[in-house]
Symmetry: C2
C-alpha cells in the first residue's frame, strides 16, 4: 500500500491526485480528537466549516436544540458558540442526537483541502488503530493529511500519522512510504507508549498547557480508546 | 539559541523574520555538498542562479577559462554546461581559481529564499561540524532552510539539519527548537553513523541510485571531512 504523509494541507498535490486515494485527516490537538469523541458520544454528525460565519449561517436553518456550534480561534471558544475545541466538552449528555456545526483554525481547513479524495476519514490517537483497520480493509492507497499549525509542520500530527502507519504494519500491510511517512513511522516507533510526553513537548501542546488545557493533552494522548472512525459523507462527518 | 528548521524554502515566514538570524541552507543531495566541495577545492566563488539562462548571461561578461557553468535539471547536467551537480566532478584540477556559475532545481532556490537573513551559510554532511562551530561562535539565532525536493519534505536534508543540531548540542549550546528541528535532531541521533543508509533510503537518494549515481551518495554521506563553510557575500558563495 502506498501511503504519502504531508505535514500541512498546502502540500497536497491537488484534487486530481487525491482521486482514487483515501485521505486521513489528522489534527490530534485537538480538532480530530474532538470530532472523534463527539461522534463516539452520539452526535448525529459533525459538519466542518471554514469560518464561524458559515457555521452560524448553517445554524439558522436548523431548529433550536438540534444543533450545537463548536470550535475555536487561537485555541479559544468562538464568541456565541456553545462549545470550544476541547474533546472533554463533547460528552454524551451534551452532544447525543445533535449536529455539531464545527470550525477550527487548522483542522477544518485540512478536511476541506482533502475533500477531493475518494474517501475521507478523520484520525487521532484515540482511534488510530480503528482507522488503520479500516484502511487495511479497503486496500486503497492512502494520503495522510496532517493539519499542522498555521501552515507548518507539527510534531503531534506527524506522530499520530506514525501511529496509524505502525498499526498498518502490525496488521501485515506492506507499506511504500514517502520520506515524511517514513520519518513519522520511525518517530512513533521510538515514542510509542510515551504519547503524552510527545504531546507535551510539541509547540502546540506547550501553548495549550500555557492556557491551562493540560487535561486535553492527557485525553488526546490515549491510543485506541475509541473504535469509531468518522468519515465524510456529503460534507458531513458521520460514523 | 533558538533554531527553527523548515522542510522547504516556501515555509520561511518572510524577509523581515529572517533579519537578525543566520540562515543555514541544506540540499545534501547534492547541491550544498557540491558547493562545499568546489570551494574546498579552490574555486574562487560559487555564484547561485535561479535559471540556466541567468547563469549563461552572467558568463558572457567573464573571460573564457575564468568560469565554469555547473548545475542540473532533473538530476542531469544542463545542455551547454561544463559540469553537472555531482560533487565528484568538482575536484581541484577542474575548479581551482575559477568561478562556478551554478543552478540547481531546489538548492539555488533555497539560497535565494533565505538570502534576506543577516548571514547565510551552506551546510552538508561534509561540513556539518564546521558549520555548527561557526554558528556556536556567532551565538545568533538560526534558521535551517532545507531545500526539500520539489516543494516537499526530504529525509536527507532534515537529517543533515539534525547533524548540525547534534553538533551544536555537543558544543554545549542550549537549543530551543521548533517541532521539525526537534524531530530532525531525534532522527539524526538514531541514525548517526548510518548516514549512507539514510541517504539510500530517501526518495531522492533512490532516484539518484536509479540514475547510476550511487557514488555521489557515498561521498555526500561523509560527515565532517571538510572544514570549509561557504558563506554568501554580495550574491556569491565564498569561504
Amino acid at each position: 500500500m502506498r501511503v504519502d504523509l504531508f505535514a500541512t494541507a498546502q502540500e497536497i498535490p491537488g484534487t486530481d491526485w487525491l482521486a482514487g486515494r483515501t485521505a486521513v485527516v489528522i489534527d490530534a490537538l485537538r480538532a480530530t480528537s474532538t470530532i472523534t469523541t463527539a461522534l463516539h458520544c452520539g452526535a448525529r454528525a459533525v459538519v466542518p466549516f471554514l469560518t464561524p460565519e458559515e457555521a452560524k449561517e448553517a445554524a439558522r436553518s436548523l431548529p433550536e436544540g438540534r444543533y450545537l456550534l463548536g470550535g475555536e480561534r487561537h485555541a479559544v471558544r468562538i464568541p456565541g458558540f456553545h462549545l470550544g475545541n476541547s474533546p472533554l466538552e463533547y460528552g454524551r449528555e451534551e452532544v447525543a442526537g445533535r449536529e455539531i456545526l464545527f470550525t477550527t483554525t487548522n483542522g477544518t481547513r485540512a478536511i476541506q483541502a482533502a475533500a477531493g479524495a475518494s474517501a475521507l476519514c478523520v484520525a487521532s490517537f484515540l482511534n488510530a488503530p480503528a482507522v488503520a483497520r479500516k484502511l487495511a480493509e479497503s486496500g486503497r492507497d492512502v494520503v495522510i493529511c496532517c493539519a499542522g499549525t498555521e501552515g507548518t509542520f507539527s510534531l503531534e500530527d506527524t506522530a499520530c500519522g506514525g501511529a496509524v502507519l505502525l498499526e498498518l504494519e502490525r496488521l501485515g500491510v506492506t507499506l511504500s512510504l514517502n520520506d515524511l511517512g517514513w520519518v513519522a513511522l520511525e518517530l512513533y516507533r521510538s515514542y510509542r507508549g510515551r504519547e503524552a510526553e510527545l504531546l507535551a513537548r510539541s509547540e502546540h501542546g506547550r501553548r495549550l498547557i500555557g492556557l491551562g488545557l493540560e487535561a486535553d493533552l492527557g485525553y488526546c494522548a490515549q491510543v485506541g480508546v475509541i473504535n469509531a472512525v468518522p468519515v465524510l459523507r456529503d460534507g458531513r462527518l458521520v460514523i
